[in-house]
Symmetry: D2
Subunit: 504 residues, 4 copies
């Protein structure tokens, strides 16, 4: 028998589940939990903002409130386990404040529950695999779509072998980027709209047919497209589109099953088809347009110019975090990923404000594992405002994140300083300024210098390249590049009006 406070039990239970980091904002009685966590060897990162607690219960996969001190270890084990088993998701454990400082004699052997094992793995039914292969073989215009589920399932090795053995064209979703490198010859991301629209068979690997994939429906998809849906969640099967074949199970295991079949009979999709020609022509045409935009030398710069140069300088193994509207959309197409799970963005719900938190978490892990990978955070100026104060957190812990704020003075698009002054003369800005506008040329770089990091105001290609190179070479502290671009550099207002996402 042994004495423990609630805070100690919480800390020990988390440690037993191999939790390594805790993020939070202390207050009474969270201080005691944070201190107990540090004492137990968990790293604690103090943040600057948090959202309403009770509310997250709504968005959690599992929530519980231990009814006694003794229940804490098993509730925490269940929360950690549930967050990883099946489709991953956040869990919420609500511990009554007065439990934290309660001291209780606890039977030593019951104090902790040992760490839960990795999730169990299941395979697809053999008959369904055979059917899927036969649908694939009959396809004229096949397409592999790689989703977040494939990344969570760590399917990259099998997947690369499958794509290279079968010679199929593939397209990653935002969170599926990097399982295969974005510059892989079979990647058709640069012809995304065309590929989606004309594919007759889609092998959908752990991706949901939600708005990001236009629900799998016309006018963005062929109404007769056959979908081979691969997912570990039975309830996901058939959402929005009825699959021709449903392969239920672990994505990595199923890709391996498919690979085995393809290898066995030596089938591959020919490289000289009309489909490949169509896709390659489109890729080339789009590349030309992007390049033309990227090489425009007028100032202020446009999005394409910025991303072109950033893309050239980023190390292939960096972790890219991104949020914003145009910044995230255009950046997604122009910034390549080469490694799996090296991209974090605002996700399905486009939640603004998550970027800096993601970057801090990634950088804290990187710092402690010391693998030599950089975290680069590409933010729209409005998105940066949601949690900009977290740069103090980065500076406090010496996390060498590179933040690139692509600053167009507004949400979607702002105005230049001259126009702003004219508007101010017209009357009260709350009445006359368009709701999308922010203060022109705001010095977000000085937020970084205020806390001892490096800040750069960037107006030209040269400034951009030099600031980024300097930032990447500094492993001691964070940097922020405040990149001023043309506030009218909205994709919708360009001379190539057809160059929006829907026609790319």
């Amino acid at each position: 028998m042994d004495e423990a406070t609630g805070a100690q039990l919480i800390a020990e239970s988390l440690k037993a589940q191999k939790v390594e980091y805790m993020f939070g904002i202390v207050g009474v009685p969270v201080i005691e939990v944070a201190m107990a966590a540090q004492a137990a060897g968990i790293k604690y990162v103090g943040m600057r903002n948090e959202q309403a607690v009770e509310a997250c219960r709504l968005y959690s996969k599992f929530s519980a409130r231990p009814s006694s001190l003794e229940a804490i270890p098993s509730v925490i084990e269940k929360a950690v386990r549930t967050s990883m088993y099946g489709r991953p998701g956040a869990c919420y454990v609500d511990i009554a404040g007065d439990m934290v400082n309660t001291v209780r004699e606890v039977c030593f052997s019951c104090r902790v529950v040992s760490c839960c094992p990795p999730p169990p793995v299941s395979l697809a039914d053999h008959g369904a695999i055979t059917e899927a292969i036969s649908v694939l073989k009959a396809a004229k215009r096949p397409l592999v779509i790689i989703g977040k589920g494939a990344a969570c399932g760590r399917a990259e090795i099998a997947l690369r072998q499958f794509v290279e053995t079968s010679c199929l064209p593939f397209l990653p979703t935002p969170m599926g980027k990097g399982l295969l490198p974005d510059d892989h010859p079979n990647c058709v991301a640069a012809a995304r709209s065309r590929a989606l629209l004309q594919a007759d068979v889609v092998l959908l690997l752990g991706a949901r047919l939600n708005w990001i994939l236009h629900f799998g429906l016309p006018p963005r998809f062929d109404p007769d497209v056959k979908v081979i849906q691969v997912d570990l969640c039975a309830e996901e099967m058939g959402n929005n589109v009825r699959p021709a074949v449903a392969l239920l199970g672990d994505i990595n295991a199923i890709v391996t099953q498919l690979l085995t079949c393809v290898r066995k009979d030596g089938w591959k999709y020919p490289s000289d088809t009309e489909w490949w020609n169509t896709l390659k022509d489109k890729i080339a045409a789009n590349a030309k347009i992007s390049k033309a935009l990227a090489l425009q030398s007028t100032l202020p710069m446009n999005y394409y110019t910025v991303f072109h140069h950033v893309s050239q300088l980023l190390p292939h193994d960096c972790i890219i975090v991104s949020e914003g509207a145009n910044t995230m959309d255009i950046g997604r197409t122009m910034l390549n990923n080469y490694l799996p799970r090296h991209r974090l963005d605002a996700g399905t719900f486009g939640t603004m404000g998550v970027g800096l938190g993601f970057a801090i978490a990634a950088a804290a892990v990187e710092k402690s594992e010391n693998k030599g990978q950089r975290v680069v955070c590409v933010e729209g100026d409005s998105a940066f405002g949601f949690s900009g104060m977290e740069v103090e957190t980065m500076c406090r812990y010496n996390l060498p994140v590179v933040i690139i704020v692509v600053n167009n003075n507004g949400i979607y698009s702002g105005v230049d300083p001259e126009t702003w002054k004219e508007m101010a003369k017209m009357g009260d800005l709350t009445s006359v300024a368009p709701p999308v506008t922010l203060l022109p040329e705001a010095r977000y770089d000085e937020i970084m210098t205020a806390f001892g990091g490096r800040g750069f105001l960037v107006r030209t290609v040269e400034e951009l390249r030099s600031a980024l190179q300097l930032s990447l070479s500094d492993w001691e502290k964070p940097s922020l590049l405040n990149v001023l671009i043309d506030p009218s550099s909205d994709r919708k207002q360009q001379e190539f009006p057809w160059l929006t996402r829907s026609n790319l």
Copy 2:
């Protein structure tokens, strides 16, 4: 293009999903939906009671409120599909009242979504199967537990072959009864407590380690028991007990995988082990005690006598519905099932009031499919009170359900008429009657005759046998046997006090 009301769209969408029965209570505007359902060929069963609508949202696996008439077919498809895919569960679709009578031109092709296919099937990982087999082979005291998940997964054929090939002892949970017949030589249900307590390896097939299985923990289980957990729900794995092996996937498919392995190497668990001897001795001892109780000739009868004779007369293919406290518990052990999915009871939460509704649903299906199977509903007297008015529904539709009310004048246990009269003399019964007492010798049989069914007041073995034989021979209308038993016939008050569930 074509015109349809909301009610018609609902009815057609349900029909398209192969829904055959609708149960409800009409009111404005449910009348229109019920009539449209009948017009579409769906059978409508009007009930007498229902529970708060909004509330069931809390207990539903999926709930939605279509935002337009056009969305109804796909929402209904998703609700039906979700109710069957993954772990089955109720779904809730809330349709705004004013939509029901709205007439809208609807594109003919969009009017319905075709019926969703059967759920996809997944297999367990081969390595995990091998490991499971090796754990099984090393077991000294193995036990197979057959749960509701095996019934839902329709695993009975593979399961029988597996049990008979491997020669393992098995135990069904309440809803797992009948996958193998209860009188199968390998069934150790009559030594349940002993089997659970001493097993060193448990093969858990689609059963949850909840209170019904004593959470899989001491003092009812060996603290070192190794569990091979088979489930189609990843999040269920490891609840309460960490499994030695987790086999994730379709139960039928996994049992088939296990069977293949066992067949391949010809392994079987020997029939002459100490374990089998222990179990068989215990079964014989318990049988003797039950028989002694069953053959007691004092009146009023006790539970064991009643169930002994009922058990002798019930056809092997009947569907047994049951609810109550002692009635359900003792009945569960004494009434055999011989076919899968032929038992419906109050389930995990012991929800009283579900029995008659279950019986009506089962009888309506039986009546229309005409397979010659009877529905027998075994109810405690208190349980019957929750929805007793539904006998009018049975009479109205001529559903030949046989209801057996095991009447002990109370909840858990009541008092005899003499005691009741004495209490009434002592003062206001709301002050002096124990909260568990109900009116002694209440004539529940007359509830049935009030609506034209057959009612029997039963006090003796002869009356019981004759009434039950008569009821089973009548295929035209329902019957109710009001079986008066000793109100003190509580297991806890018997001369064999150790004969409670915990020691059986």
Copy 3:
């Protein structure tokens, strides 16, 4: 210091709040609470059905879960107090099961919280009162509407003086019936539709402008009607109709304020106005029609005949409980109330199944207070089905409730036995019977005799009168009159089609 179990603390806390009755269904661990309540002198009434527990939290004014045994008394005090202060409403206290049997040393002085005092009273602002009086004086066609709030506020004495001093016509809402007797010369309920439609000033006393009052809007109200709204809930003011004057406070206090004003200057509304003539003419015309219907001698009887005779025989001080569709609607107009708070019906939401519970509660109170008042429960046959098993509860406790089931073989309207037989020949009744039909001539009276009460099958006026007289003379046990009426006796299908609520 003293020892107490959780159950005892609950019971003592309720007793301290002067709770006299507890209603419930026992199960583990409610038994202990019920027994402790009886030991503390609270009467316990065991019921036969209950609705989902957790769900009622949604409909509660206050809900709480005490976090410790010590918190129980103050949480119960707060729940009882909140249920009565401000607008009355149900409260929900959820006590963890394992607290019930916990024994704890409790400081004697903290064990209970003394009974909360009656709700505080507030008055309307004097200026608003003056304005209200001046609006009333300027009215050509004034109308007083008496709502449930006036009944809860016990405003009957002041209200009668106000109506009789001011000589204004008044109209009660269903729950406002009886504050002044329904046969008061100023009552214009028999010209309800006309009164609502043509009033130019409405004095609304504790009534909500919901669907029961047609939201106070055209076409059922004059678009220019001026409403003087009297309510104790500020947030109710202005719902649906903007009041000309809002009088916030205790209804009894405000009516007294109005009375004082009216008395001071001696104003009264003249009795010879065109408005009074219109209303009186309409009352006479409607009375003639109702009487003609009531005196029809064809069999089966119609609603009006039944209610006409019931009305003649009911004692003026009886408590009328009612639920159903037509039964409740027509009964509301034809069964007079003469005393305040002597009517209980299905209320704003038309919740079916509440009637028998209301009747049991009223009869239990009446039995113990012995004031010589009868409880009469007027039920539609479908409504009776929701909780018909509660007649066992009435019989068990010898509660002399008189239940009148107005039986038209269905919901809204059923069919006669001949038609039913014809339908049965046409095929499976689940396919051919209209969803509104129930079993024709079901013997609900035998539900009563099954438990030892008196049952009557009633087809004629003579049978009705004799059965009702007999039932009213029996003070020892409950009775049920199963009154068979013409199943097509729907108001909508009569020869006077304009005699529906909307035109009355």
Copy 4:
């Protein structure tokens, strides 16, 4: 008939309810609503952060989702009305995204609902007033507590007359500050603990007995204290303490009733009582201690020094916004308010992050009404971090807010730069830095200069006074004073350890 989009209907409905300001963050489809609001003459303030939308439903007094375009005006009227009637509170209207751009022909007359009138007013019962006066007269140690309810009820004129006529001592709660000036001779705030502990009668005006008032219970209150509770919410009466007299109604009206009584009989509480002597002695003693702390000349400064000088320089009519832990607590006692409703702080729940939003709202109103009042925002450094990016909003709209960040390098208390450097040498700061620490001497002032406002780094009294004077003289833009104080300047660590709130 007329055409309108949903966005226009929303804007017009808000304008009709006299809504003057809208705060938000645009995104699709909020842009259209913001633009329509500006077109309708509503000022739009674009913010930088917002909290989860759906979640606020939980904390709202009323929430609704209009089911059609036509319902928008009345739902908005109800939301605005409900937010002001009864106890004020936030309301939530959730409008489906696709409604915003829907164009519909709308009947012109139905387009808007006119502005709801001010809340109705009710008075306390005369008998209760008489009783309250008699309890007050019998008091030996009376105390008036002025709460937020008195501020919302705009009771200041009547209240000042009442206090000055009755000569009673008074104490404001945080949100009741300024109804009477904090330097009023009857104010006993500087002897708060003593006044609460020894009062025998408390006149509680619109204040809740929650944790801020120590629940009205021992050891902070006399167990026999008599409370005269004045509130407009019946359900608040009796929470935590049973009132001797409950006065329900509008606070201003009730104070006027009390004043009338007191004036009529000329009663006043004598100025030479032992109670007044006790209070005055305590006030003098506490003033001496505070002054001693305030005049300490060591550097870094302590809280008392900072607030002493700030207090001297702030104009009496300024609006003080405050949040933080020690900063808010100590500032509350040392920064006087002289006008009602001129203080906004983190309130009952201590919600961090609200300060800058409050300041922006107050400054926007002040700017447009041009009354010459300044908004001063006093923030702890941790509190500032929750929404520090909103300084961009202040700069964008030229709102001349003065922000004073009282910076102790942490939450509750941080460490000095030297200590921080030592810790950094000890290892990874996530492991070694106490969870309460933030980056020492962080330059929050540069956040302000980054957006064009004035920033000051303040270390001494001279710098503090000069920066504040300069800031207050600038009416064109915001300023931020980053006041570095002794990181160990926690009240708990001072040489006067008894000088905490609990003993003051």
